[in-house]
């Protein structure tokens, strides 16, 4: 049927159609369908090419690192000198894990209030004259390589203090988190309808109570998601930590030293283990990679669960 129709009267309408659709002959149609199927194949291939490497990476990391991670010493001992690993004495990354917790927690402590505050400024005071500048600079900061933020923390804190320190590492990581949190906060606060704010204002609440007691709680899930994303991003960063918190092969002698002295962190330690010449340390490097990957994936799954819970309540 379709074969004869265009052959006899293919006058006005096909001529107006976009290129590629103009002439409809069976052979032409077949070619178009063939191309359609070909493109589907190509797209599936592209998707596989992108997804398979991730699975390969995860598989290699887990299979190489699982033996290190499953030992008790890995969490309770510190690294010490290479001799310890070579002679088979107990060695682990306990100090690294502890240092990572200290540095990451401190970074969150610095970045969350500032980032959320900046997000509030952008969304709740939309006509503030500095907002366009803040938005542009925040995006610029977000696009800056993390290593530059490490250089900044080095100049601002390490140089005046005269020593590498946990604090400087935390500040460097906070620089990484800040723009992400600010941006995410602005985004979710803006979704909250103005009618909610107006309802609060109509009840006579001052503006700051409206923001703190109605807008922020309503946007809580989104803000938390933004913070988690920022955390996942910063927790894997090694570049800014290499010349701020530097690294340390041992547990620090006093708690204060974790803040004021050089501290080990998982990404930075992973780097130095990977480029070290010792096989035993390579195995521990894979172990560190497992922990890091688990940390990131757990955070990531956390954001998914949190957002899914919100969608459930929305319905």
């Amino acid at each position: 049927m379709a074969v004869t129709a265009p052959a006899t009267g293919s006058a006005a309408p096909p001529a107006a159609a976009p290129r590629g659709l103009a002439t409809v002959t069976p052979e032409h149609l077949r070619r178009r369908y063939r191309r359609d199927r070909f493109m589907i194949g190509l797209l599936v291939l592209a998707t596989a090419a992108v997804l398979v490497p991730l699975l390969i990476i995860v598989w290699y990391v887990v299979s190489n690192g699982i033996s290190a991670v499953l030992t008790f010493d890995f969490y309770t001992q510190d690294l010490g000198s290479p001799a310890r690993a070579l002679q088979g004495r107990p060695t682990g990354l306990g100090h690294t894990i502890l240092g990572t917790i200290v540095v990451d927690a401190l970074a969150l402590l610095i970045a969350v209030p500032i980032g959320v505050g900046a997000g509030i400024m952008l969304s709740e005071y939309p006509d503030h004259p500095l907002n366009p500048v803040l938005r542009i600079l925040n995006d610029t900061l977000n696009g800056m390589p993390a290593i530059l933020k490490g250089l900044l923390a080095f100049s601002l804190i390490v140089k005046p203090m005269g020593t590498f320190s946990g604090i400087s590492g935390a500040v460097a990581l906070a620089f990484v988190m800040l723009p992400i949190i600010a941006r995410a906060t602005e985004g979710v606060l803006r979704i909250i309808p103005w009618s909610i704010r107006e309802a609060g204002l109509a009840l006579g609440l001052p503006r700051w109570r409206v923001v703190l007691n109605t807008v922020l709680p309503a946007a809580r899930v989104g803000v938390v998601t933004g913070i988690l994303i920022a955390f996942a991003r910063a927790a894997g960063e090694a570049a800014p930590l290499l010349f701020t918190s530097f690294g340390n092969n041992f547990f620090s002698s006093t708690p204060l030293r974790y803040l004021m002295g050089p501290v080990d962190t998982l990404p930075a330690r992973l780097y130095s283990l990977a480029i070290s010449p010792y096989k035993e340390w390579h195995a521990m490097g894979w172990g560190a990679a497992v922990i890091l990957l688990v940390l990131v994936i757990v955070t990531f799954v956390g954001t998914r669960i949190v957002t899914r819970a919100r969608h459930a309540t929305d319905l």
């Binding site: 590629g20 900046a118 005071y125 696009g143 800056m144 530059l148 250089l151």
Partner: protein, 327 residues
């Protein structure tokens, strides 16, 4: 507007003026101060990198440092040209390598895949973006490099040795840590960014666009090519440029895999270096003041390049995102 008072407000009446006015004032001051600190941080970043790297700029000049091909801390001669070249080559090549697969994934997930599959694909892509750079780096060192060396670099090198000796200077010695390895790993790391931005752009294309093309009898792919992709073109381009920015700043995986050589010319299979990788590798070992300052200067140039790339992307987004213009 708040003359009609409710009971609960009546109770608070005595404290209200202070509570309201001072509270609002304080809150705004605090919030603006927090916002200002981000502004200050961004400006401080530029200022610190500039002043800490001032000495090499003074000694070699802005263009002199940029185009200087010698990086010799011992003789105190510094130029960032090799690293700039390395950065641009790796970033552009990795974008070229990853762009079409990334767009493919975006189209597949946004248009073709059933919902459940699209969800899985999106999750894995987002997860790929979250994998730390160092983890990719250790995988590269112990898995990718040996594999590429025995299956690609050496065979190709020997083939060229026998059949096309003219290629040898371009290929370079088949070290496992080289430009090609760095490019492959970089491509892998920026794919998720390009994909995510392209996916969002494609999903934002109005239904009516697709329906119009369907009504004309277009096949699925023709709908994509004629109605959807042109509409999303601007946002996709902006996303690609943002990914380029990521590739330029990506540090650890590249530093672990690029081989680290600070002399031009770079070859495909020989070691090279990028601006972030030289900072990471030399910063902790820099003892000379000039060496340290020069690394800061490299950071300053890196800042300028990132800034340019980001501003271009933002400009493109604003200019083209409105609706892809006409076909």
């Amino acid at each position: 507007m708040d003359r009609a008072l409710t009971a609960s407000e009546r109770i608070r009446l005595p404290t209200r003026p202070i509570y309201r006015r001072l509270g609002d004032r304080l809150f705004q001051i605090v919030v603006v101060a927090l916002g200002l600190s981000i502004i200050a941080l961004a400006l401080l970043l530029a200022e610190v990198l500039f002043t800490d790297g001032l000495e090499p700029l003074r000694r070699f000049g802005f263009w002199g440092f940029l185009t200087g091909t010698t990086w010799d801390p011992v003789r105190g001669v510094h130029g960032t040209w090799p690293f700039l070249v390395g950065t641009l080559i790796t970033a552009i090549a990795s974008l070229a390598l990853s762009f079409f697969p990334a767009i493919g994934v975006a189209i597949f997930s946004a248009e073709y895949a059933p919902r459940w599959l699209a969800g899985i694909v999106d999750t894995i892509v987002d997860l790929l973006a979250a994998v730390p750079s160092v983890v990719v780096g250790i995988w590269g060192i112990f898995v990718l490099v040996p594999l590429m060396q025995s299956h690609v670099y050496l065979p190709v090198y020997f083939w060229a040795f026998e059949n096309a000796p003219g290629l040898l200077p371009v290929l370079g010695p088949p070290a496992g840590y080289n430009l090609v390895t760095a490019i492959i790993v970089l491509a892998l790391m920026i794919v998720p960014y390009t994909t995510a931005l392209a996916r969002d752009a494609i999903r934002l294309v109005p239904r009516s666009q697709r329906e119009a093309a369907r009504a004309l009898g277009a096949t699925r792919w023709e709908v994509m090519r004629m109605a959807v992709l042109p509409y999303a073109r601007g946002a996709i381009t902006a996303g690609a440029i943002l990914s380029l920015g990521r590739a330029i700043g990506e540090t650890m995986a590249v530093a672990m895999l690029v081989g680290n050589s600070n002399t031009l010319p770079f070859t495909f299979f020989g070691p090279a270096a990028t601006m972030p990788s030289v900072i990471v590798n030399e910063f902790r070992e820099a003892v000379e003041d000039l060496h340290l300052a020069s690394l800061m200067t490299v950071g300053f140039y890196l800042f300028l390049i990132s800034l340019t790339v980001n501003l271009i992307a933002a400009w493109l987004q604003r200019k083209l995102a409105v609706g892809g213009r006409s076909l």
